[in-house]
Point group: C2
Chain length 189, copies 2
Amino acid sequence: MSEQILTEHINSYVNFSEEELSEIVRFFEVRSYRKKEKLLHAEKRCDTLFFVAKGCLQLYFIDDLGNPKTTQFAMETWWLTDFLAFQYQRPSNFYVETLEKSTVLSISFSKYEELLEKFPKMEKYYRSIFETAYGAALMRIKYIYSLSKEEMFFSFRQSFPEFVQRVPQYVLASFLGLTPEYLSEIKKK
Amino acid sequence: MSEQILTEHINSYVNFSEEELSEIVRFFEVRSYRKKEKLLHAEKRCDTLFFVAKGCLQLYFIDDLGNPKTTQFAMETWWLTDFLAFQYQRPSNFYVETLEKSTVLSISFSKYEELLEKFPKMEKYYRSIFETAYGAALMRIKYIYSLSKEEMFFSFRQSFPEFVQRVPQYVLASFLGLTPEYLSEIKKK
DNA sequence: AAGAAAAATTAAGCTGGTTTAAGAAAATCA
DNA sequence: TGATTTTCTTAAACCAGCTTAATTTTTCTT
């Protein structure tokens, strides 16, 4: 059951009773999506936060030349949205789209506020999640600035072999900030 | 007073009484630093979280060639540390150092845990801070991947003119991911 | 105020990674 | 299953940004 993925994840950070957890889950909408479905559209108001119970999402934008560029992936138990736009209820700078058949729990901004109001312990859960995510983003910037494109690929494959398997190569290329052609050349070695 | 910078900042997110705020402040150590003092050393256990009351800090690492590379700045009311290492009490991947004469409030990891335990509303404060910081980091990655080095500089100067004034050019260059020589060339235009 | 050290500039040559274009392979669909 | 679309590969020409190294300017120290 998809709801259980979320409740177990929450429980690994904060302790809630069974009743509380089932009430928390009611704040979310559970839905399955086919491959390549858009869950969030750039330019539209960013009103939804997503939790991946199964499958894989990407956060991406369209560059000047019309090519999609992936900024972030989210697999099982990861949260995803344009967090800056979400917090201030502004238009999104990104698209969110499935990379494969996925099951996602969604919560609207107003429900998110209600949830945090009603269950203040959820603040602790999200604080931990965002603290880690921000720390990881700083590490990612460190890698971007210290590794060559070739090293980026090998170091990423070492750390997240499952991503390299699951994600199309041109999406991985854009996430790593290189061209599909160059990635192909690197892999040849 | 430096403590007041912190309490006012906290109060802009969560409401606390005067007594609570003065108790919260007691979890922190206030200290002034000269220019170029190290507050956190790479490889050493990351046990401290910093709040800038006055001045400016940088988070940086040393690359293969021995050159320091700035990953993040922090000016007044910003929080800084190696968040990933801090949360898991691991060795730091970064140095933290003053870029100018600064006044900083520091909190150790155990005090941070105590603080959150004793004042659960602080979870909300930090949740908001980290949610925004993570969102901003994703935007930063968007910029890194979509702008040329020249565009990076002009767009950064447009958004944060005060940084460009305050920070040495070679530090700014490393933050933007280009060489000081090339930044110099760009500025000539 | 002078001397030393640190930071910024300039210019030439070079390279990691892009662009373009065309073909091969793999996945999707009727 | 074959047809169509999507993804991946290969190779050559090209360029944004780096490296190197020498000079100038600014900042720091006494």
